[in-house]
Amino acid sequence: MNKTVKQLIFAVSLPCINLLLTNTLVSAKGTGLIFVSNEKGNTLSVLDSKTNQLINTIDTCGRPRGMHFNLDKTLFYVACADDNQIAVYDVATQELVERILDIEEPETFDLHPNGKILYVSNEEDAMVSFVDLETGEVVKEVEVGEEPEGVLVMPDGSIVFVTSENANMVHVIDTKTGEVLADILVGTRPRRFALTPNGKELWVSAELAGSVNIIDTALLKVTDELLFRPQGFRKDEVTPVDVLITRDGKTAFVALGRANHVAVVDVASKKVKDYLLVGKRAWGLTMTRDEKLLYVANGLSDDLTIIDVQKEKALTSVSVGFVPYAILIDD
């Protein structure tokens, strides 16, 4: 108990410092490539961020979903649910480097700030696996609710948050011991996370409740709930999935799934400022490094919508593969 409390205090008191560190680690310029995982196409679409043209399609693995860069952005990881593995690609050459095998049905994951451990949600096994990237071994497995999905590691690496879509919970897990510190009840079908840059608020989308719950990371309690209702849509058609908060902590974007919109939220007042029309069943969100453009993956229209963040306006849409899921931008 005492140990747990100490770790928790540690967890909530350090995030700001660590977040700064992580950000400075990212290299200054990238290849300008955009990678998109296509869940049903079993491919990765590669686009040139200057022209937004498709320049390559890579046959990758069975049901590729969550993706993540390594710390220096030289590699990226792809969760392959139907092949029970994580595929590792070289960013510059777009070549497959390695396959980390025997990871049961990975859906999404997050990387420890030290760059050495992946926290992976195993959708079918109701587990979260801690994967050591050096050895490719699963070093720990933690039992969580059915269909774990969203994974977020606190910037100091002490705690990992995981949603369980089926149990309607956010599990709070100690990364050192694997102990579940708390199970927080949230709205129906929780999916993804975003953390405010000060580390104080954890935003979690609840797909079927049509809401975002805000968890106070110190109290580990839900303190607020945001509801979305773009014009012309009923509550049951609003199914939020991905959430993204800008680096200045002022603005949040929420992909509203079947409502085919992205909500723009003022973080301080928790008010929805605008709803931007995008493609069909918008899930995945990613921003360019300068935060001028927002890319949205539309799973049921097989395209990306590109949004001018300042003007809050969709600029264009680009065709990608069959059921796009996640987007990475190396800029």
Binding site: L8, E146, L185, G187, L219
Partner: protein, 395 residues
């Protein structure tokens, strides 16, 4: 200093969580009662190992939902358990339920039995703090004149299934139907639902024929598919709940017409090929346990356990009145794995839910279809409305 204060704050937060966990484990037992030898699952509806229709008792559906509850239980300090009874007759079924209630204080029961048995059980449970869940009987009377305030339905009614299919036919503008039906009481009940549905959605049943399962040449006008389907309709609406005759109807009609109803395009509560809204994960969990594919009644049993667990979780209570109050209210937001949250209709205790329209290996559409609107709740375009219901449990 600030950090210290912060720490104390944290500590308080954790303490409250710990106390919830620490609270002595309460166990909530959910009853599951089935009629052994239920004719709907008869093994002899199988010839030389050929299954006419996939069948199976819904018990594994309940088990899958129970397993899903274990982490929920961990968080609120309540353990869920299923207690199953399987008996041979209707009176025994009622007795078993009352006994479990009196001996083990079981208040929530899933019942897998035909309409008459469900009514026997419901009558025996009258006036007691008991809530029964019908997981396999679609008969419309149970949601109409024969409804009971303590009998909930997670399996869709015939009316809902028929309405779901009708919405598709309207969308396609396939409006003229030849109704080809069997003689079984279930065929008659489902056909009656289709007649009402046709009226509701402006479809026309331009001809009705009754088929007979036989090889007798003297009955050829009733057993020969060609002779039965000479009528010029746009669609053949087949109602054969048994399945032996029906499986030969597609491709044997005189005119090239799609077959819908109990073959071809079929409306169901669930299908294994549904691939959205988390369905693949639920299907995989079910297959692992049951060693067969998940069917409508399996889903309904799963849903019944889920609504009980969800209501306990949200009320953080096992008190019968509290849990039932939440369960029956519009606050219930059950993730039905069909995209739209499900809740019970207050006028007849039917779980409102989408209906899947499927072939043997694909879900073609999910009703309510686009364009079918209701003033408040589009799911209520499926099945009887509060005005149209003969049930008066709200009064």
């Amino acid at each position: 200093m600030i950090r210290k204060a912060f720490g104390i704050f944290c500590f308080a937060g954790l303490l409250s969580l710990q106390s919830v966990w620490g609270a002595g484990k309460t166990t909530l037992v959910i009853g599951y009662a089935e009629l052994d030898g239920d004719p709907r699952y008869r093994e002899d509806r199988r010839y030389a190992g050929i299954e006419f229709k996939p069948r199976g008792r819904p018990w594994p559906g309940a088990k899958v939902a129970l397993r899903e509850s274990r982490i929920v239980g961990r968080a609120i300090g309540i353990k869920f358990r299923l207690e199953k009874v399987s008996v041979k007759s209707e009176p025994e079924l009622a007795e078993a339920i009352v006994r479990l209630h009196e001996k083990q204080n079981v208040s929530f029961f899933l019942v897998d039995a035909p309409a008459e048995a469900l009514l026997t059980v419901a009558n025996a449970a009258q006036g007691k703090p008991l809530l029964l869940f019908n997981v396999s009987e679609s008969a419309d009377e149970l949601r109409g004149n024969q409804c009971r305030p303590h009998l909930m339905h997670t399996i869709p009614s015939y009316a809902m299934l028929a309405d779901g299919l009708a919405q598709y036919l309207v969308t396609k503008q396939w409006r003229n139907l030849l109704l080809l039906q069997g003689k079984l009481p279930r065929d008659q009940a489902f056909s009656q639902a289709f007649r009402k549905t046709a009226k509701k959605f402006g479809l026309k049943i331009t001809e009705e024929k009754e088929f007979v399962l036989s090889n007798d040449p003297r009955q050829r006008d009733q057993n020969n598919i060609a002779l039965l389907t000479t009528h010029q309709s746009e669609v053949v609406l087949l109602v054969d709940t048994d399945g032996e005759f029906g499986r030969y109807v597609p491709y044997q009609t005189v005119h090239p017409r799609p077959v819908v109803g109990t073959e071809g395009l079929i409306p169901s509560a669930w299908h294994w090929a549904w691939e959205r809204h988390g369905a693949p994960q639920l299907n995989q969990r079910f297959v692992k346990r049951a060693k067969r594919k998940m069917l409508g009644p399996d889903w309904a049993a799963w849903a019944a356990v889920k609504v009980i667990v969800e209501s306990v979780l949200r009320t953080k209570s096992t008190d019968f009145e509290k849990v039932t109050g939440y369960l029956k209210s519009d606050r219930l937001t059950l993730d039905a794995y069909k995209g739209t949250p499900a809740s019970f209709r207050p006028w007849n205790n039917q779980l409102r839910q989408p209906i899947l329209l499927h072939t043997h290996n694909a879900v073609v559409a999910r009703a309510p279809l686009r364009g079918f609107l209701h003033p408040t709740q589009n799911l209520d375009t499926l099945g009887v409305t509060s005005e149209g219901s003969g049930c008066r449990i709200e009064d």
